[in-house]
Symmetry: C2
Subunit: 243 residues, 2 copies
């Protein structure tokens, strides 16, 4: 049941930078346990100073922030291999919540060892920084989309990016994937209302870009979609490190 990092099936995915044996040994010893979260449960809550750090092993989650009026902004979707809670280790407090979207299994990490990481494994900490910088690039793209694109293009961009992330993890076919997000998730991600999301989905279908039926997304014309949404492919996966 307990997954050994040396035989972690996630590592086989092309999404991640290959790791030296001593680095991998370090990671293995940093892992302090596993935990399961059912859908719709919070894994971390904004403002909590006592959150730990963990990596998603399986399932989907999302980072989000709330306003007092109850509206929610989903900041990012988190997939297997994504690290969460680094903020709270390094800055003492986490400024967003994380919620499970499907059943989620995480590998907990011993936060105390992050100090050693920098001392003992410079190349690993360098790789981790590269990972953060790639995340920053994705955040910039989201800012552009929220600030300057139309709802349908925002949606398209989001779905294309998800496709590429999943492809690298071997969790998507070229022409589509299973999407465990409902209307509310999607509209809170692209910053629109629920009804507008419905219109955008229909528009996507009418333009023959893609269709979402029964939780299954199917792409119909990826080049046209990329063109219109001004999608830029993700940086080299060799930059992303799995801890």
């Amino acid at each position: 049941m307990f997954i050994d990092c040396f035989h972690c099936p996630l590592r086989a995915a092309v999404a991640f930078r290959p790791m030296a044996p001593d680095e991998l040994e370090f990671v293995r010893r940093t892992k302090s346990g596993e935990r399961h979260y059912p859908p719709q449960t919070d894994i971390m809550i904004e403002g909590d100073p006592h959150t730990g750090t963990c990596t998603i092993f399986s399932g989907w989650a999302f980072r989000y922030k709330m306003l007092n009026n109850g509206s929610r902004q989903i900041l990012d979707v988190m997939l297997p291999g994504d690290l969460m809670g680094l903020q709270s280790v390094m800055t003492g407090r986490i400024r967003h919540s994380v919620q499970a979207m499907t059943n989620v299994r995480v590998c907990n990490l011993d936060t105390a060892r992050f100090n050693d990481l920098f001392k003992i494994h410079p190349s690993l900490s360098q790789a981790l920084m590269a990972t953060l910088l790639v995340e920053e690039q994705r955040a910039d793209a989201r800012l552009l989309m929220l600030g300057r694109q139309r709802p349908t293009e925002r949606l398209g961009y989001f779905l294309l990016e998800l496709r590429e992330r999943l492809l690298r993890r071997g969790e998507s076919a070229d022409d589509g994937y299973s999407l465990p997000m409902n209307y509310t998730h999607l509209s809170d991600t692209i910053g629109t209302s629920r009804s507008q999301l419905g219109l955008s989905l229909r528009e996507m279908q009418e333009r023959k870009w893609a269709s979402l039926i029964g939780g299954r997304l199917t792409f119909l014309d990826i080049p046209a979609m990329k063109q219109s949404c001004e999608y830029a492919h993700l940086p080299d996966p060799a930059l992303r490190t799995l801890i």
Copy 2:
């Protein structure tokens, strides 16, 4: 004319984590020169693989992305002490442009030495990572504001955040600061049209939050403004490292 890092006036600001002598020596040796950029000139351009890395010594700049239709999204305003171009060193390519808003002086950094940074100065690289994570928090806040707040609240949030950043650098009084941004800059930052920005500025004034006259921003009721814009103060400045 050439500023020695040991006597860098920026370091006196409360914005930055204090630095050990050997760290400072490392930084001093990493500095490879200085350069000046007049207003409206690009310091870095999106997609360029050959950008270096530098830190703003004085003046204001901004990071931005463009769409094909010509619209621009300003991702962030960069102030003295902010590091730029780390993306291109670590990931090989920069995904946004940077433009000077005022006269800007930068300290260029020798990118080759960033490898040594991790090997020789773990605490410094750890501090740099904390800095990145604080930036991530600020980016999350911007996503929330672009996705879920009204233009006036977006504007208010932005101005409040700028105030706090400037205060820490000793470049702002408690009740206001000089703002070298024009209508286009501001509207491209908060994701609205130019005319809407005019309305939001007026609304800000009518609500007695703040007023912007002749490039000088004056706060009238900061608590009310923070309340309405749901402003959360920035993390501890001891986390931010000046390289």
